[in-house]
């Protein structure tokens, strides 16, 4: 509640700051400070919630509990990290720097709604608030044709999926006579399932699958991620995705959890397809940025595991996965923006030219590949464990083994970057000098990745 208001107000302040301050650097510093303020507000709200218990403001439209606030806090923390790491690069995208930061605040507002919605209307509003600023950010590099293409493509496809989402909501309302997800669970329970409700669930699954780029609704992802200015790709591929996943999980666990026998197999096939397409296509990419786009599809496949398993390990898993994946990917993009040539050859010999950059990139890639002692391993571990625990009912052990084989494939394309950096010779060109500040931020990010891998309980502790 407090955080939702705060992020809106701070976003507006940010926008007006653009009118008054001309200095880009000052704006970026202001944004960093405001994000830390927002993080403070989140922590304060969390501590209030621990003391007073969950709340249901706006006539029960939202239900704010400890888990959703903890998720908000973590995502705000990741956003603050993102701003601190990428602030300089965001300044280079265009002239309306203040607006970019303001839009990121608004995206977070949507994310807060998605983590605590209690009715389908709020889900819809949350998704729209989160998506629309992204359409703008995708096209922020106005003179670049690819950026405009990305924006248009994303907008058209996004609008289309929103239509499907609304259709699904309508059908579900017809079946349950309520938008309230907790009530819906009660009404829909029973021996026979209303076909309207089943159709509604499938529509919503497709629409949310689009948002999290699950196959076969993933086709927009590579082009959009590739065309969008790199700093914004980093945000879209990480925090936004984690938010959409949390919404996905909340709906399917709270409202449709008891109906899981009806949708679990469909989602399992979507998961398998996502893993297969994401991993196999990533192998063939020549540009690291495009590889990361496909890898984000592959990682989405793993996050879908958390939705598949209706238990508490899954909720912990999605939060841990969201954080581990976001931090590692933001870090990797932080390295990527320093490199001029995004192809694999552009990384040749980086270890010699800038050992620190190569080292942190290696840790981020280890985490994405799921090597132990990095966050990625623990995250994968949690979501897979969630499905294994549920295996007696769902019979999805084949999917776990399939996913692990796909993880082995992912080693191929992640390690190609490591091979280029360490074992090939070349003169990589950097876009700008790597300052002490950049180095510090990258090392901090790297330390967080390892911290998640060694002590995951620090990040799942608040999940009830």
């Amino acid at each position: 509640m407090k955080a939702i208001i705060a992020t809106t107000v701070l976003g507006v302040i940010m926008m007006f700051a653009g009118l008054m301050v001309d200095n880009k650097k000052a704006i970026a510093s202001l944004a960093a400070v405001l994000f830390l303020v927002l993080l403070g507000v989140n922590i304060y709200e969390l501590s209030c919630c621990v003391a007073d218990g969950p709340q249901a403001p706006f006539g029960g439209m939202l239900r704010i509990d400890q888990t959703s606030l903890w998720f908000n806090t973590l995502m705000t923390g990741c956003s603050a990290l993102y701003i601190l790491l990428m602030g300089k690069e965001i300044q280079k995208v265009g002239i309306h720097v203040a607006e970019y930061f303001a839009l990121i605040f608004f995206i977070l507002c949507g994310l807060y709604l998605l983590s605590s919605y209690n009715t389908l209307l709020m889900l819809f509003i949350g998704i729209e608030i989160m998506s629309i600023p992204q359409y703008i950010l995708a096209g922020s590099d106005k003179r670049n044709l690819k950026s405009s293409e990305a924006s248009l493509k994303y907008f058209l496809m996004g609008a289309f999926s929103t239509g499907i989402l609304l259709m699904g909501i309508t059908l579900l309302y017809g079946a349950a006579q309520s938008f309230d997800i907790a009530r819906m669970a009660e009404v829909l329970q029973g021996p026979s399932l209303n076909p309207l409700a089943l159709a509604g669930i499938m529509f919503i699954m497709v629409a949310l699958g689009f948002k999290v780029s699950a196959a076969p609704m993933h086709t927009w992802t590579p082009d959009v991620y590739d065309g969008t200015p790199t700093p914004f790709t980093a945000y879209m591929a990480t925090i936004v995705k984690a938010g959409a996943f949390y919404a996905f999980l909340r709906l399917f666990h709270v409202a449709f959890g008891s109906l899981s026998e009806h949708w679990v197999m469909v989602l399992a096939i979507i998961t398998a397809a996502t893993l297969l397409i994401g991993n196999v296509t990533a192998v063939y990419q020549q540009s690291v940025k495009r590889m990361l786009a496909y890898s984000s599809i592959a990682q989405a496949g793993f996050m879908l595991f958390a939705v598949l398993a209706v238990n508490s390990t899954a909720s912990q898993g999605i939060i841990l996965y969201g954080v581990a994946y976001s931090v590692a990917t933001i870090g990797m993009f932080g390295v990527l923006v320093k490199i001029k040539d995004y192809t694999y050859d552009g990384f040749n010999g980086l270890a010699k030219k800038n050992p620190l950059l190569a080292f942190v990139a290696t840790i981020f890639l280890f985490s994405l590949a799921g090597i132990p002692l990095t966050g990625g391993f623990m995250a994968k571990y949690y979501v897979l464990l969630a499905v294994v625990q549920q295996a007696p009912q769902t019979h999805l052990l084949w999917l776990v083994i399939f996913a692990l084989l796909m993880a082995a494939i992912s080693v191929y394309y992640y390690f190609r970057v490591i091979i280029a950096m360490y074992f090939k010779t070349g003169e990589p060109e950097l876009t700008s000098e790597v300052t002490v500040y950049d180095k510090t931020m990258l090392v901090v990010t790297c330390a967080i990745v390892i911290l998640i891998g060694v002590m995951p309980q620090l990040f799942t502790g608040w999940v009830s």
């Binding site: 132990p372 391993f377 897979l384 074992f423």
Partner: protein, 481 residues
């Protein structure tokens, strides 16, 4: 606490080496000191076994039911001791060698040592998995950076191969860990849960775990990464791979497979033994036709590991005891073999047997060492290899699987074929005319020292294997029932 030291010492020294030891001499001495100290600690840990095995246990991730728990029973401490000795000998042999970027080279070597110690000591399944991977990563960098011409592709194949295996193992461990009421990965809980699973479940869990171990050992037909990787790696890394890392696979079979899914093991024993025996004969035959000494030893190693694996699935306690002893002996012997190969390569610039010859004339001491170590490798009586191999065949002979007689006879062919390729190798390299014009120096002081340690162990354990047998007898009886 001593057990933590075994893992922490190499890690701390490797961090120091990475950051400060930019010169060759600095890095070498740092690494040597580290390995000597670690060896001392592992000797202490092994000695403690005669009274009570050391344990260490503290909380790690309570939510997942995984603990940071280490246990040094007979088998673990024996393998830690082996790791300590081999790493020290490697560092001694490196004294007169120069490498590029010495700080990373020795840093990674020490890190791999830490990973290996962790694998041998872990008594929590998840901890075991973590170390299993951590041992692999430094080796990946070592091979890719300092290896031969085709190193990048070969190492990558090796890495992906073993990584697929590890992930299968992870799936198996996940399944086992999630089966108990309270999530727990402690060894005894995993054993308890695994053994109480229905037989058909055990049968497929068996393969999830066994594939990882089979790739690591390697057992036919999962061995294809091995000769290439051994050939392309720099010698110190080859030693780590062949003397220590393959033991990880065998160790894992004994600790994390046989007791965990007993009914699965019983069902698949015959298959595994047949595969191993095929591997013995196949690898021995391939060893005979090799001209590159490194590849020859690589294939001979597959044959030796095949025998140990076959016995591991024969359900016999003497055989188990033999495996323990032979794990140690094979580690020592093959280290000696690789050291000599690298000396040959340094002096004559080739590993091709057809171009070598006359070592006994130009470098007599080296030739003597080669002969002694090779004979130990084919298990001549009064060398350490004899004791272990005798027990292994005894175990296979007395085992309970079907057709064990036939299988033992076929496996026995491996000994004969082993003699053929080893003696052939000695003949071509040590004797005959000196075919190259290179005048080679005999052993330098540090090489003397390294080989002397190896040969001492070979002879002492050949005459008096009792300490080694005593150390491992308890655990062998336990697994071999």
């Amino acid at each position: 606490m001593m057990l933590c030291l075994l893992i922490l010492l190499p890690v701390i020294f490797s961090i120091f080496t990475f950051s400060f030891a930019k010169s060759n001499n600095g890095a070498k001495s740092m690494a040597l000191i580290s390995t000597i100290v670690t060896l001392a600690v592992s000797a202490y840990v092994s000695a403690a076994n005669y009274t009570a095995p050391m344990v260490f246990d503290c909380e790690w991730i309570p939510l997942m039911g995984t603990r940071f728990s280490l246990l040094a029973d007979g088998m673990s401490s024996m393998l830690c001791l082996l790791t300590g000795i081999v790493m020290m000998v490697v560092m001694i042999a490196q004294i007169n060698k120069e490498v590029e970027k010495p700080n990373s080279f020795y840093g990674f070597l020490l890190l791999s040592q830490a990973g290996l110690m962790g694998v041998f000591l872990a008594s929590d399944a998840l901890l075991f998995y973590v170390f299993w991977e951590l041992a692999l990563i430094p080796v990946y960098f070592l091979c890719s950076q300092w290896g031969g011409e085709k190193r990048i592709a070969v190492t990558f194949k090796f890495f992906v191969y073993t990584f697929v295996g590890s992930l299968m193992m992870l799936a198996g461990l996940l399944y086992l860990g999630s089966q108990s009421q309270v999530p727990s990965y402690a060894w005894k809980d995993i054993v308890h849960v695994g053994a109480s699973l229905p037989a058909d479940t055990q049968q497929w869990v068996f393969w999830l775990l066994f594939i990882a171990f089979a790739i690591k050992m390697p057992v036919f037909p999962f061995h294809t990464w091995q000769p290439d990787t051994y050939e392309q790696s720099p010698t110190p890394v080859t030693i780590v791979l062949s003397a220590l890392m393959v033991k990880m696979g065998l160790f894992a079979v004994l600790r994390w497979l046989l007791p965990v899914v007993p009914q699965g093991v019983e069902y698949w024993s015959e298959t595994v033994v047949i595969l191993s025996v095929i591997g013995i004969v196949y690898a021995s035959c391939l060893a005979i036709v090799q001209t590159d000494i490194k590849r020859l030893i690589a294939y001979s190693s597959i044959a030796h590991m095949g025998l140990m694996c076959a016995v591991a699935f024969s359900h016999n306690s003497i055989g188990m005891h033999g495996i323990m002893v032979q794990m140690f002996n094979h580690g020592i012997n093959i280290t000696g073999m690789w050291l000599i190969v690298s000396m040959i390569e340094n002096r004559w610039g080739t590993r091709d047997m057809t171009k070598l010859g006359g070592m006994a004339i130009t470098a007599p001491a080296m030739a003597v060492a080669l002969v002694v170590i090779s004979l130990a490798n084919i298990a001549l009586p009064l060398t350490n290899g004899f004791v272990g191999e005798f027990m292994l065949f005894n175990g296979l002979f007395a085992g309970t699987i079907a057709n064990h007689m036939t299988l033992m006879v076929i496996a026995g062919l491996g000994v004969i074929l082993g003699a053929i390729y080893t003696l052939n190798m000695i003949q071509k390299t040590a004797y005959g005319e000196a075919t190259t014009m290179v005048v080679a120096k005999d052993l330098s002081v540090n090489e003397y020292l390294g080989l002397a340690i190896i040969i001492c162990i070979i002879l002492v354990l050949g005459f008096y294997p009792k300490p080694l047998l005593d150390l491992t007898s308890g655990i062998a009886m336990m697994i071999g029932v």
